[in-house]
């Protein structure tokens, strides 16, 4: 447990000093908002509002891929990952520390991204905020759990960062299904369907367990 906290603290401090990952993800997300404007020309504001949750999640997923890759690629410098593998205790805690750091950083980016989308696509987010925050928070747990595990593999293959999207995207379908459904309900001001939350919680739990146990084999040197 202490290991997890130590890793979490280390990741947050190093991000605070460099501030490169959050900035990169953020710029990318804002660019996505602009890309969607050109990809969906001539839509009426109401139409775009209905599309916004889906667009938002598209930006979230790709920004997260960026951040997750970087988070593990950083550990390749000076063989830091091998050093982590030598740390005593269950390696699952190392996973939990890294995944939590990723969750915090990605959530931060997501909050700002949502604000940008709200401004660009004229969605009133204020009443939807608690529901949206819940759905996004839960969905991001799943992304970070599976993503941290798979990024640890991907960065050490011959293809490095390129492999993560191929590995991670098929695994994110259940997360997306629940998250987009829930976000849509939140934005439309109706109560979030219990099925979405239930699905997100189940997927989060499954991915956390698989990644916690599997990290032992992935980090093994």
């Amino acid at each position: 447990m202490n290991v997890a906290l130590a890793i979490l603290w280390k990741d947050l401090i190093s991000e605070w000093r460099a501030r490169d990952r959050v900035v990169a993800m953020l710029i990318f997300s804002i660019l996505m908002a602009v890309v969607f404007h050109f990809a969906l020309p001539g839509r009426r504001p109401e139409e775009l509002q209905a599309l916004t949750p889906g667009l938002l999640w598209t930006a979230y997923i790709f920004a997260a891929l960026l951040g997750l890759n970087r988070s593990l690629a950083l550990e390749l410098d000076n063989d830091a990952l091998a050093g982590l593998a030598l740390a005593p205790g269950n390696r699952g805690w190392i996973f939990l520390g890294k995944a939590t750091a990723n969750w915090i950083l990605i959530s931060l980016v997501q909050a700002v991204t949502a604000l940008i989308f709200a401004i660009f696509y004229r969605v009133d987010l204020a009443p939807a905020l608690p529901g949206l925050a819940l759905v996004v928070g839960l969905g991001t747990v799943g992304i970070c759990a599976a993503g941290t595990l798979l990024a640890t593999m991907a960065v050490r293959t011959g293809f490095r960062e390129v492999l993560l999207p191929v590995l991670l995207l098929p695994a994110l379908f259940p997360v997306l299904a629940g998250a987009v459904e829930g976000s849509l309900a939140a934005v439309q001001g109706v109560s979030i369907p219990f099925e979405s939350l239930q699905l997100l919680i189940v997927v989060d739990g499954v991915y956390l367990v698989v990644a916690f146990l599997g990290f032992d084999y992935v980090l093994d040197e």
Partner: protein, 213 residues
Amino acid sequence: MGIVLGLCSIAYAWAVITAPIDSMQGIIQKILYVHPPLAYGAYLGFAITGVAGIIFLGRGREDMDRLAIASAEVGVIFCTLMLITGPIWARGTWGVWWSWDARLTVTLLLWFVYLAYLLLRSFSGPSPRTARFAAIYGVLGLVLIPLNYYVIELFGSRSMHPENLQGGSLGDGMGLPFLLGNITLALAFFYLVFLRWEVEAQRTVAGEGSSAR
């Protein structure tokens, strides 16, 4: 086993050719004798990959890792053929090449999972680490099968596939070719997996196997 498979194929081809033509769907309905058996092969292959991966991780048995490669590759071939025959049949009977129907979506996603599995293997080169990575990813794939079905259950997506295909639901004269199709393709599946497994074992002996140290 190869001879048995050859004989079965002949009987299977003959049965399919002589099977009655469906009064509603016409000749295209004959895809029935290929499509579901391919699906069983694909799912079987993916299940074996996942389970073999777990055994490999737990017991460190390298032969299980080789089995995982073999069944993943054959599973992907079966799944690819299923994804090719499916739209052809769909175009003929549903009028569209593709529909985001529950089973199609899940199968497509699984296909991607196991393609990614093979990519992961081929991009990392033969090493014990690759074998472990692949095993973990195979386990994730195994978890995804029920998870995806749960998603579909939850959101109540309609399926254009029949819920269960029993012998009685087939027309006269269609049962035998269907049965032969299942037997032949199941044999083909196991035969291919076995051959591939052997190849991988030989490779390990030659020192270039995927899990060779």
